[in-house]
Point group: D2
């Protein structure tokens, strides 16, 4: 931790600060420059981080040196983590493909989509039974009935299930059906929900909040690991920027960046990230080229009739075409689908 | 709803779309221009809004005309809503002042701050017993014990209490102590929490999400009103932008804009909005000049020792000075404190 | 300057870096912590700032301590600068009011608007003869003819003239007519233009770029002062954010922030900043309450016929009403109009 | 153009608007809905676009239907444009590789880098002789001397030259040396510069402004084409967002999106876009997978000594490794390097 003092900081203020640092069991190193004094603090930075040092008189700014996350950091665990979802491995050489409709609408439709995406090479079925909708008047999901449909398709196809949980009260019920518990972008800083899924034994897919920095994203993952659940998969799904030609700005820079900072697997959702079905395939290819460990793709047999997000869903035929193209790109970067 | 077709849309595609609109009980009005065809749809736009029209072949874009919120809109209720908090009125001529520490840390400190801000003119006490912290290793709040301290200070000073609830499971417990239930920025789209506080009889203070548009903010308030609770106060608290000299960018434009679109009262939190105590006073004055119905201000007797947000807290003396200045500005715009 | 090394930095890398720092005539102070080593550098930070230290092996990050601007900083000149525009003072107790149409369209209209805003209390006439338009097919301004019209209205009303210059080739021609040379938001980092107006003896009004941080804004002003022109006025005019309900997000936080960091006067343009005429008045009041030294307001006698920006222009009557309200707010914060 | 009226618009206001539309030679189509009236306008939308319709009483909002750009649009020219730079074709099957130092620093260094990147497969040499620097105290480029060095390296290696021009006064001088005139991100809306390079016969590389929407980016390109120069190459180089872990957020979504909207070739600059050399290679691969027609990469033999941007430059060895990887990705998506 570096504490930079104002040019006009008094000796008394500086001494007061040094005293404070010492009282916390840390060692201050004072450098008096021509223009101002800085105090470097050696020792466990965490003790200091929770102190409102910028509120001290005479302090101009405080600069942390160490990263605030620990368990998710690559320094804590240098090798890549591989999350095992009943045999489907996420984070290894093979790229995981999660596909399915935005919402679970009916068993028939889900079974149809499930069989088709399975055939094209997907190994995990996505589908929301609880839907976070910006309007209270929009379809809110089928609830537990939808989870049952997911289970039925799993039984038939062997695909694993990833589905969203939105409420701390629902975690244990959803866990009975899901193979991966998804925490959505709007709940990325719903810290109680993070703690609750952190207690589960099921892997968690954590989506990046639409205005979350990479650091905040990793801090939210830290909540899950700190609660005991190390099976955490991170998902980039687009951030909010001034650009309005796409629904969000899918931030592929996040992939190599997170790979440097953390050992956790990273997947990408180009369907929500762009909001346009005709951008899904090029961005999916780009995601794999940038090093993503998996993809989450919305597929619907009849997007015109979808209860939600029809405009960003692929029809099964286009999904199939895309999967072939993805295989070539994966191979080019030493991966497999 | 206006549906703009691609220049190359075929007659068959257009007919298919017209058919769809009619099937929904709406009336399409087709205008064939030189460059392209557009279809205007008359009738209840909501029926159409949930349809993924952009997924239809031949469609270039879909432009809604009506606003997606109803109960919160000024069209629904032309006059200003006044929320009555046990006699303290928010939204009328008098400006409400909420003040207190970021977190409830101890009864002693809370009582001290409470008495002081009361004396300076604050009428509502703020203080978090449940704290959303980006790090799992930071102080998470005292929980129910903190709520009891708030109640104690209320008994002594007569101030009303506003405090945050973060978890659907806690709503009914927090409601026993709070006079206003606060939903924080990070939970603005925690829709289950919105529904739950919408069932309460206590007023709700809804903070704007850090990347929420005004439209989304109003849609979240719509959840609360749609659940039956019309006592909703909106709070601008800073949005996330590229600017890093302040913690957030406090968006005062939101005040006159929301006043045009909605009948709900709007208050401003310049402490979180700027993240710097020395910007709080000028931005508080600006908020009142722009038409805010209230302010929420962090005050701490010893910011250096604050468990959270010390760098943005005012000491009671500065709060007192600011209150005097605010009174002059309020008077200049025909309001009172 | 603080150089933070990677945890795995080798002794050789550290020595290499120390050598580099010494060779530049600076004094490295090495602190070896448990987790990593940091090097503090005492001396003229500027020498180091231009070095790509992050490219050195073993370096994790480099944190500057001092601000990169000098002449514009409050440390360089503690008291407020007052820019004198032929007797109209900007930056003192009296608030400067610049008003007029977006574009100069005709002498008749300009004279009409000029006389009316003068009567309401404006002392500087704004009006663009060179217009930066996003479309090549939009009206691009009257050029030198427009400047002559401005001069004519000055002769008649005594108002001073502020007008934009867009091209280095035009600076000396525009200077013959203008009392204040305006550099627009889109040219805030047109460094050659900054250097050119820096050579002028006329005051410069520099508008903040729509994605410029406060630091970058001040760095651009530094170009003007470094070229010899200390008569520089800064203008906040809205930044680009995700919010699309307003044309830009007028960032009033910039006012008190710049006041802390710099001695230069700061004015606000709520017309461009919001893009909506009905937000101009509340945001103008807020700007003054926050400490602005002046306002720039678009006024048009017939916004329906305006060649540009009609939707954000006030009619003279509304401008007059606003001016009365502004006077009350100015008085409340110890200023005058 | 769709004009949406306020619910309370009077008959007189509506008639006034209809009259206005007719006077402009356009045909209004009035639809009176239950909640409000809308007016669709058939005919040349451009006539209307320049009218400030939102300033008319009774108007709530105005929604353009057609795109404001013409010559750059794919509707104007359905097939891809291929820009021919003395035989090097940009926009065809073969991907163009532009590489070199950020700034031209010396002939020796430039020659060294030029020969090395040529050997690895680059065919266009980049290097700035005029540098837009945020600080007036930073190295500003060698000017015409730097251009001569570029020409020398061209003579020796056969590589074509791309270099930035910042000032309208310099266009014709720079044109004598450059094969491609680069307009930088900070000048994307320096409309006079766009007009000037539009008069040149040399191809123009237009970089996206850091806060420019895709629409504004295309509008700026429209300036160049409208002036007569159809040899325009677009370059995505990162946009400004709240994320601070990278220098900018490289927006790869722009590639497929621009490809849909325009016939112009699109290249990507991952060096400036990320600001970190270790993100360049993954993002370069992703750019090609997403459909980019070329790349612009900073390479420096000794980044530690670079006059600018050392932290984002690759050393020639890493550039060579990357080129091999890029070839595999290009092949996987049906392209060549």
């Amino acid at each position: 931790m570096i504490i930079v003092l104002r040019p006009d900081a008094t000796k008394k203020q500086i001494d007061h600060l040094i005293e404070k640092v010492k009282k916390l069991g840390l060692k201050p190193m004072v450098s008096r420059g021509v223009e101002r004094t800085i105090i470097g603090v050696i020792g466990e930075e965490d003790v200091l981080r929770v102190q409102p040092l910028e509120a001290f008189p005479g302090v101009e700014k405080v600069m942390p040196i160490l990263k605030p996350y620990k368990l998710v950091s690559r320094e804590f665990k240098p090798e890549n983590s591989i999350v095992d979802v009943e045999g489907v491995k996420i984070g290894g050489k093979k790229i995981a493909i999660m596909a399915g409709p935005c919402s679970v609408e009916s068993l028939e439709m889900l079974m149809d989509v499930g069989k088709k995406v399975k055939k094209s090479g997907a190994n995990i079925l996505r589908g929301g039974a609880f839907k976070p909708r910006s309007s209270p008047y929009s379809f809110q999901g089928l609830g537990e009935e939808g989870l049952k449909f997911l289970k039925d398709v799993k039984k038939e196809t062997g695909m694993k299930i990833v589905t969203e949980v939105m409420d701390t009260r629902d975690v244990w019920m959803v866990e009975k059906y899901a193979d991966i518990l998804q925490v959505g972008a709007r709940n990325m800083q719903n810290f109680n929900l993070l703690k609750e899924v952190g207690l589960s034994k099921k892997p968690v897919l954590l989506k990046r909040g639409m205005s979350a920095t990479i650091k905040e994203f990793l801090m939210s993952a830290e909540y899950i690991l700190a609660a005991g659940n190390f099976n955490c998969i991170l998902c980039e799904r687009g951030i909010r920027t001034f650009e309005d030609a796409t629904r969000f700005t899918l931030d592929l820079n996040a992939i190599p960046l997170i790979k440097q900072l953390s050992h956790l697997p990273v997947i990408v959702d180009p369907s929500h990230g762009t909001g346009k079905w005709d951008l899904v395939s090029p961005m999916a290819k780009a995601a794999i080229a940038a090093g993503a460990d998996g993809l989450m793709i919305e597929v619907h047999t009849n997007p015109e009739e979808a209860y939600s997000d029809g405009e960003q869903s692929l029809v099964p035929y286009r999904f199939d075409v895309m999967m072939k193209e993805l295989k070539a790109v994966a191979k080019a970067v030493g991966r497999e689908i």
